[in-house]
């Protein structure tokens, strides 16, 4: 498998007049093409910061960021941030609009994505008329519409209640796999990470350093049903507790 993204020895400091915050310390990892990777770590350890660095919104204080030539990243945030003053279709076109790529052809693609993922009848609805799961799906389509190669997911399910969270996370990961995207999911929810990914990276408390790495070797489609699930959970849990 070829490596499509990674960081090497990155560190990041936030500066303010009153203090200096070390968010990330000497962190390195690679992501392979088509892989679904999760990064778990306690709240405030620097996970969002890490994704901002990967997406190019932030420059690391030191170290290198690697994104394969010609590859683009797409962001998905904790809340869906669908704008109430736009319809679902117009929300889904936001990224294209910003990148000035909105034309008949790309609009057709958005229509197609909305249809494929069951939002066709909601195209002209406003976000408040949709359920949390549908909104999250619309948010994903907004990102997919710009055709990113690597998806950066920043706790995209943590704003949902537990019931919907399970089904929405399965739903979203199925879409991501169907679109054959590489994904980096950040979360503080261990079971979510095991359920969705091929590999889990565990970060320490701030400043984030890499503690350990687990390859999730579960064959069945539903990771949660597997007896290995518990095993992985305990291992990662212990790792985080340390």
């Amino acid at each position: 498998m070829q490596i499509v993204a990674g960081v090497k020895d990155i560190s990041l400091f936030y500066h303010s007049v009153s203090c200096e915050t070390e968010a990330i310390r000497n962190l390195s990892f690679d992501v392979e093409d088509g892989e679904f990777m999760s990064i778990v770590g306690p709240s405030g350890c620097g996970k969002s910061t890490l994704l901002s660095i990967l997406s190019g919104l932030l420059k690391p204080t030191s170290g290198k960021v690697y994104i394969k030539e010609g590859y683009k990243t797409g962001y998905m945030l904790q809340k869906d941030h669908l704008f109430e003053w736009r319809t679902i279709f117009s929300n889904a076109c936001l990224g294209l609009e910003i990148q000035k790529k909105l034309n008949d052809e790309s609009k057709d693609k958005v229509h197609m994505l909305l249809e494929k993922y069951g939002l066709k009848q909601c195209e002209s609805c406003h976000p408040s008329q949709l359920s949390g799961g549908m909104r999250q799906r619309a948010a994903l389509i907004r990102t997919l519409a710009t055709q990113p190669d690597i998806l950066l997911l920043d706790e995209p399910f943590s704003a949902l209640d537990y019931q919907t969270r399970l089904s929405v996370s399965e739903d979203i990961s199925r879409i991501i796999r169907a679109e054959k995207k590489t994904a980096i999911l950040v979360t503080h929810d261990i079971s979510e990470a095991i359920a969705l990914s091929d590999r889990v990276i565990v970060l320490s408390k701030r400043p984030a350093i890499l503690k350990s790495e687990f390859k999730i070797d579960i064959q069945s489609d539903n990771h949660r049903q597997s007896p290995k699930f518990r095993e992985y959970f305990d291992k990662i849990w212990k790792e985080l507790e340390k």
């Binding site: 901002s52 919104l57 962001y75 945030l77 941030h81 704008f83 109430e84 910003i98 406003h126």
Partner: protein, 275 residues
């Protein structure tokens, strides 16, 4: 769908309350006017300095018949609308500049704070000296009274735009201009509407004060002139008209507000029920 009996009862009760409120509002006005009329007719209050509803009505008919009344009203409304619009537009533009450039914003902050607390009408004589005894000066005074509040309110709205929504635009490679147009402006519509509401009243104050000091036309002029020659019924008439105009202007803003509400959807409604 048929409403339950309790629901029907509730609706009936609310309707009854609504009619009661309207009736009381009307009664209050009626009794006030009647008492005023009776007191001045019977000499309980001085008719010369308190006037009376009937004398106000007579002078209204008198001034309306030769058209001077409409001229005064038109002038005041015109000045207010121009002052209000330019105050809002310029204030918003300045807010955009200050949002865009944090350095300029920080530099200007103490000045804005002082200007905001300063009674702007204190500047009216200066403006009149600079711009002369004309309508330009009055509009400038109206503009002065509303512009600083607009800047502060709108800027505050701009700065409270959601950080993650901005991050979303940025993650698509959006420029600062796109952040402004796609997120910051639409999401600060509630504070913009608020600024509009405050501005109507302030521009009115500016115009009337301006007219007190200079001008040969307008309701402010009418008040000052008639009070000097002790034609109190004309003074009262001007105040009554000002009340009506204030009500109408408020209504107009409300219509505009609803228009904005519709365009920018439940966001604004949510904001209102929260507050």
């Amino acid at each position: 769908m048929k409403n339950s009996k309790e629901q029907e009862n509730f609706i009936r009760k609310m309707k009854k309350r609504h009619t009661m409120i309207k009736t009381c509002q009307f009664l209050f006005l009626f009794i006030f006017l009647a008492l005023w009329e009776i007191c001045s007719d019977t000499g309980l209050i001085n008719k010369f300095i308190f006037a009376s509803p009937s004398s106000i009505l007579l002078s209204a008919i008198d001034l309306a018949s030769d058209g001077t009344l409409f001229r005064h009203i038109f002038v005041t409304v015109f000045e207010t609308v121009i002052g209000f619009t330019s105050g809002t537009v310029l204030g918003t533009l300045i807010a955009v500049i200050l949002w865009w450039n944090g350095f300029i914003s920080d530099v200007s902050e103490p000045y804005l704070v002082v200007l905001n607390s300063l009674p702007k009408t204190a500047l009216a004589p200066i403006i009149i000296v600079w711009l002369g005894n004309n309508m330009k000066a009055i509009i400038a005074v109206a503009l002065m009274t509303s512009i600083v509040v607009t800047v502060l309110n709108v800027l505050n709205g701009f700065n409270s735009a959601d950080k993650d929504e901005i991050k979303l635009i940025r993650s698509f490679g959006g420029t600062k201009k796109q952040v402004l147009s796609k997120v910051v402006i639409p999401s600060s519509m509630p504070s913009f509407v608020n600024a509009l509401k405050i501005n109507v009243g302030l521009s009115f104050v500016g115009v009337i004060v301006g007219e007190f000091l200079t001008s040969k036309e307008g309701l402010g002029y009418m008040i000052v002139y008639n009070s000097q020659i002790f034609k109190m019924q004309n003074v009262m008439l001007s105040v009554v008209i000002l009340c009506i105009l204030a009500g109408l202007l408020y209504k107009a803003i409300q219509i505009l507000e609803n228009q904005i509400l519709k365009r920018f959807g439940r966001q604004v409604t949510k904001f209102r029920s929260d507050s």
